[in-house]
Subunit: 147 residues, 8 copies
């Protein structure tokens, strides 16, 4: 059996590798992991990279966001499970956008966030299926689901 | 004709009143405006207000968020148009959550944000139908749509 | 503005009247309340009442359930809000069925159940938007949503 | 060809093994069976197992239910067929919840229940595609569908 | 409150008038009834009536069916309830088509058919919410639903 | 690549074998064909076969239809393409039911019917994607689609 | 009863007025007509009108199209019926876009096009419910649907 | 992993081959490409090819379009990504129809069009996820999405 898991959120740490390493192997099951572009500079520049120089920063951003959104949409729609990590440092609206989109599309969704962020994330956390504090806890949940 | 418009986002200013005042009257059309609870203290306390004291801050938040999410969900699902305002000061994940949910539910959506926020909001802006800088511009868009 | 509210659950008490009486009047808003057949004998007999005597108790039940399900489906699909009450005495699977159906159809849903039932109802409660202990608390939630 | 079958309901007997053993082998077809956590203690404790001790029994239940619901949602949404068994002894609302959710999501659904329970389950039975009395009868239905 | 009821099926009798006359008045509720074109000749000729003579009988039929299907689709999609009557004499595939479409679109559906037709209609009847033998029984069901 | 094709309609001829034989082999593509129970006696008796003798012919039919409808629903929902054949002799409402359901579910659908039936099937034919007169023509269409 | 009709297509003639004038009055029925911005210059300039001068023609177009698309989306989603007119002179891709979107959203759709355009519009015409040659024929179809 | 990509649009050039050649190989990923019938004469004649001579050019077109639309619908619904190319020369409404349908069905969609066509395609471009000028740019986007 094959399952697609989309890993939304923070791109400045190796949390995706940690998560993959923490999940127990399950006989007969293959997980395919997808996520956003993790090279921040490339993510910001991809619009100009493909289409050439844009007239200003807003349109540089707009063209980059179109390609980033296409990537996210394609992989999110294929996903059987979505995990979104909010870090201490980067309070990205992108992560909230991806998690809320996943939930509205009916995707089973786990949020990982440090307990210190519980207040500003309370509505989004409550909409998600499960909210945990650490990467290891998310891996435990995955192990429980597929056991 | 009656249309429901949901006004997501910032609750610490009178932007909803400004918007309503800026929209031109249209013969034969009534707009019903809805939005989140704008009394911040009540919004945070509504869980304990209804269910009594909770054991800690996390569960106080969780119960409040359940009732706030119910309010948002009911009015968002009835909405014909959603407008989400991001202010300079409060970088709420809630606003991103509501806007992304509206878009995923297929609601026509306008984002209002100061131009200074274009970079961190670029992906969400690109998913919305229209992004403007000011409340007056949003009113102009509404006038154009219903003219 | 008109909103339809479906009141699922217990039919052997006057909780629907209590709820209606507890909700504050809201200028410009009319609530239409619907619910299951509250005459238990008629509810059980409606199949034979319409179609004549059936060969045995199972088919008497089947024909009654078809008509009861049609009633529930029509009003549930029109509902903007669903409230399901679980009483101490009658542990109806019907109430769980209606609440779960409402949630799966994307209807904003409130569950009312005595705190003593929290354990057996924990999964259903968690799927609903809000769970409260009393009829008055449900009315408070409705007042909050439409304020 | 691969089909996913979700087996909702009673977790205190070996009915899932009996069902699997009763289904005839079909050349070229593989069935993947999923169901809820069958270790009752683990099912109740999984919230605290992952997130640590909770302040009271209600929140212990709430955190467990979140993880159990995530498990159910993921496997139910992948299912091509859902079978829900109601036993004589444990009158779980969970089973009704899962069956009603499956039906509302458009999943072909079989209910197994002892004939003695026909009356309290009449509305849910009527919404399901097929209701049978025994595990062997459910296996016969599966054999008929894939013959 | 206003409800739309689509009356599919036989066009060579006055059953729609009989049904309307049999339903009890309900204070505060208005029913809007719609159905197919009941003038059989006009129904067959409407394609040529609008578009002019067609090259042969098949294309005369095709153009008529396009306009008849548009009529049915528009009113069926607005309907809160669909009632389909199969008569003894005209064994129309159109009625089965409309009833099956209504059911697949999630419309609450009642079938009226003489008991003598139970065998050939068994699968369609089982998919509908309720099957009755007479127009009066259908009116009784409507009275029960809206009481 | 694998595609599921559901073959609805007539069960008293070998048209399914003829169709399979007429389709050209396509490198890299496997077609899985499904259809209703073709043993008419078993199809009528399956309810009693599984559940034991029923009190009368109507309930014998009802129980059979439940199992037949489960079979059809499961395979129809998996189908990438639906083909429905109407024969000269058996004017089954079942075939119209299955074809209309497939179309309402958004399944690409081909109807095969002798030209002599064009008039009574005109509305259903017009809703289907393609209508042809012979099995060989349906095979030609499939060859064209996957070439 | 109120119905919304969206009139897509050509903006350089008074066909919308002609159509409205050609439809017969129907007691108890009100039609609300909506359509795109018919002032071509304003339609092209609306982006700069709201947001100020853009850096080049492509971005002037992009900002105008966002507001035009929001207008179309809002009114199309409310529509009970969509009519799209293709004129001889302006071979707009916009009209095809709106008609195809309406059809994919499940809106009953009529296309008006001069017979001379039958070949390039054949696939779109076939997806629509009805295709007619003149405005008067479209009015006749509307009269037939609501008679 | 396998992904289906539908290549809509121009059929008189070898752009599909160019695109396939420009996409970088990705370990573990197979792309299946589908598109319309590229033999223009066969595409126009397929209706008569299957069903025999039709009475006039309009009905020849209608029958061809039915089969072409079936082909497009089947492959578009299976697609994970849709790419639509508008060429300088053939201003097909078909391409706009397919792209708008894909977008309305929620398919991630890329448009390729020469910059010279930006004005007439502005609304459709804005609805698509990404618009590029050349085939190589589309390939770059695909490389970015699956990297």
């Amino acid at each position: 059996m094959e399952y697609h898991i989309y890993l939304a959120g923070e791109i400045h740490s190796d949390w995706r590798d940690q998560l993959r390493a923490s999940i127990q192997a399950k006989p007969g099951i293959t997980f395919h992991f997808w996520g956003p572009q993790e090279n921040h500079d490339l993510s910001d520049a991809i619009g100009e990279h493909v289409l050439g120089e844009q007239p200003n920063a807003i349109y540089k951003d707009l063209q980059a966001s179109k390609i980033n959104n296409l990537r996210t949409e394609l992989h999110l729609k294929k996903a059987d499970l979505v995990i979104a990590l909010f870090g201490e440092k980067f309070k990205q609206w992108n992560t909230a956008t991806d998690a809320a989109t996943a939930i509205a599309l009916g995707k089973p969704t786990i949020i990982i966030r440090p307990e210190a962020l519980h207040h500003p994330l309370k509505e989004l956390s409550e909409k998600a299926n499960v909210t945990v504090d650490t990467i290891e806890q998310a891996a435990q949940v995955i192990d429980y689901i597929f056991a």
